[in-house]
Amino acid sequence: MTAAVKVKGAQRTGVDWFLLFMRITLISFIGIGLVAFVAQQIDPTNPWATFWHGEEGASTLDWPQFQGLVVTGLSQGAMYGLIALGYSMVYGVLGFINFAHGEVFMIAAFTGFIMSTKFDEAGWWEGGVFIPAMILTIIVATIVSTFVAVIMERVAYRPLRGSPRLIPLITSIGVSFFLQNAVILLFGPGAKGYATFPDWLDKDRVNIWQIGTSDTGIPEYLFSIENKKLMVIVVAAISMAALWYFVERTKTGKAMRAVAEDKEIASLMGIDVDRTIVTTFAVGGAMAGIAGILWGILFKSVIATTGFLPGIKAFTAAVVGGVGNLGGAMAGGVSLGGAEALAPLMVLDPWGITGPSQLRDAVVFTLLILVLLIKPTGLFGERLSSEDRA
């Protein structure tokens, strides 16, 4: 590190060399992995594959498997994207990362659990009344999460308005612990299972164009998706489109963007800054609420710590897309979900890493490091001068 002290100006310091080394290592690791993946798809017993996987060579990935991974990645990524929007919007308006946002998502998933069991007891969780019950569940969970986000702003963050940004950031970690433990206190620390979804949602699939039959006689399709994943993707896409319309086209959305850019001038236009900030939290909370229910549909269980990992991953998605940029948050979420689903088999497996699917979390955070190393502003982020952000 002495070099970092001695060398000044245009010359590279020790830290720069280390970062360059990290960039090259990570990119070559991924690049070689991808090339090796293509190679083992073509010839599973090529020298590279036999070196890492032994004499019998690597296992190949067939189209239905690949397509299944893409669908899984997309549906999870859509959820990350929905949550990431909340991080990004609050960051845009108040300039801090609200780490309690993951808990808003968790509370929505919990609300979904409560609603589903109640509906199940009433016999409404099946048959013709399932769809209205499901819609009601989504609405109630969204309202609850919106409410939680708004209360959070009022109680925890508004009193800190005008203090250095580190203070609300630390507070948000406190709020996160508070909400997690409040849920444990109310519902216990165990995992809660959703009432069983009807088969048409949970098990049935949409199949398009049969391309063959597998060795065990199961038909294979060019495109096949479970109904629940299709629903997750569709609901997420509709929500994102609605949010886009709201932010870009409505008066309130314009006010929101104006407040994000310059609060003083926004108030000079007659915009009520406090109310706009509340709206921001509310909209972010609603998006997290929808994501929470989608999580329930996909994984059918919820626990007090459910918010943590998706929350952190959504935060990663927001950073990958360029924090403060809503399109970036969505794109970041989807690419993160895709990477998480595909990278274990397409990058890690060709390197002979066993059980690569266990490493999906590592993939996500490696991607975060990679983005921070190569384009710290995120894929769509613009470099903000300190003046802009002050």
Binding site: K254, R257, A258, E261, D262, I265, A266, L268, M269, G270
Partner: protein, 269 residues
């Protein structure tokens, strides 16, 4: 300075000011009641006393300017007028009503708007969106459209750049958008904070011509300006602030002729 002759000097308002030195010229027209007034305003930031017994009055359709050096309280005056700073004592009066506790939006709705220092456009929003936000508190769609068209004809350059992000415009164009944005609020009093600050010298003249043009439409202008010569050559009346106190309150012509002022603000030894 070049168009002094078209000014008709007017009386300083009859308000009791610290250093009123009225000249005996007859008022050009009856001013009616002031739109906006400061009555013995004192403002503090913590323990620091910023404005000291300041009295101001802005009448419909006039052009007035506030001069003063750094830290004389010019910005605080504007913030207090707009309700971004609450005075410790004294009254801010809008149309005869004390508005000390009313938020900025209340005053904007009643026709008080500011073109801020350095323009402060929403740089990441389009020019059109900037203009729309100027009319944020208005709901009369037809009127807004009419005003937009008026602004387009006033600033054809702005019309050409409607869909562009405001941050990509040149300084002069940004100034036009900033004025357009303020006009969209249908102001009766337009507060201008250092309008020539940060503009290329060639644009300063154009800029003052634009201000004059807006003034011709019957909008009262309250200008805070470092460029005292230029400001006084346009304005009817002016005040000079020194460490939070109004030390001079006179017609623009009298101020221009004031030897003390010439010495301290107009850079003449």
């Amino acid at each position: 300075m070049n168009d002094d002759d078209k000014k008709s000097p007017e009386f300083a308002s009859g308000e009791t000011d610290v250093a009123t030195t009225e000249t005996g010229e007859a008022p050009a027209k009856d001013k009616g009641n002031p739109i906006l007034e400061f009555r013995n305003i004192n403002t503090h930031y913590g323990a620091v006393h910023i404005l000291k017994d300041v009295n101001l009055a802005i009448y419909p359709g006039e052009m007035v300017c506030l001069l003063g050096g750094n830290a004389s309280g010019k910005s605080t005056t504007l913030k207090t007028l707009l309700g971004m700073v609450t005075p410790t004592t004294g009254e801010v009066v809008l149309d005869g009503e004390v508005v000390n506790d009313k938020p900025t939006s209340y005053r904007v709705e009643r026709g008080i708007t500011m073109v801020p220092e350095n323009r402060r456009l929403f740089k990441r929003l389009s020019v059109a969106e900037n203009l729309q936000l100027g009319a944020y508190l208005r709901n009369d769609k037809a009127g807004i459209q009419e005003d937009l068209e008026r602004i387009y004809s006033m600033f054809p350059r702005v019309y050409e750049r409607l869909s562009q992000k405001a941050g990509t415009l040149s300084g002069g164009e940004q100034q036009m958008v900033a004025m357009g944005r303020a006009l969209m609020a249908q102001p009766r009093v337009l507060l201008m904070d250092e309008p020539s600050m940060g503009l290329a010298p060639a644009l300063v003249q154009t800029n003052f011509e634009l201000i004059e043009q807006i003034h011709q439409e019957g909008i009262a202008i309250f200008m805070v300006e470092q460029n005292a010569n230029m400001a006084l050559s346009l304005a009817d009346r002016g005040w000079v602030l020194q460490t939070g106190r109004v030390v001079l309150d006179d017609t623009a012509d009298a101020l221009l002729a004031n030897p003390d002022l010439r010495k301290s603000y107009l850079g003449e030894a």
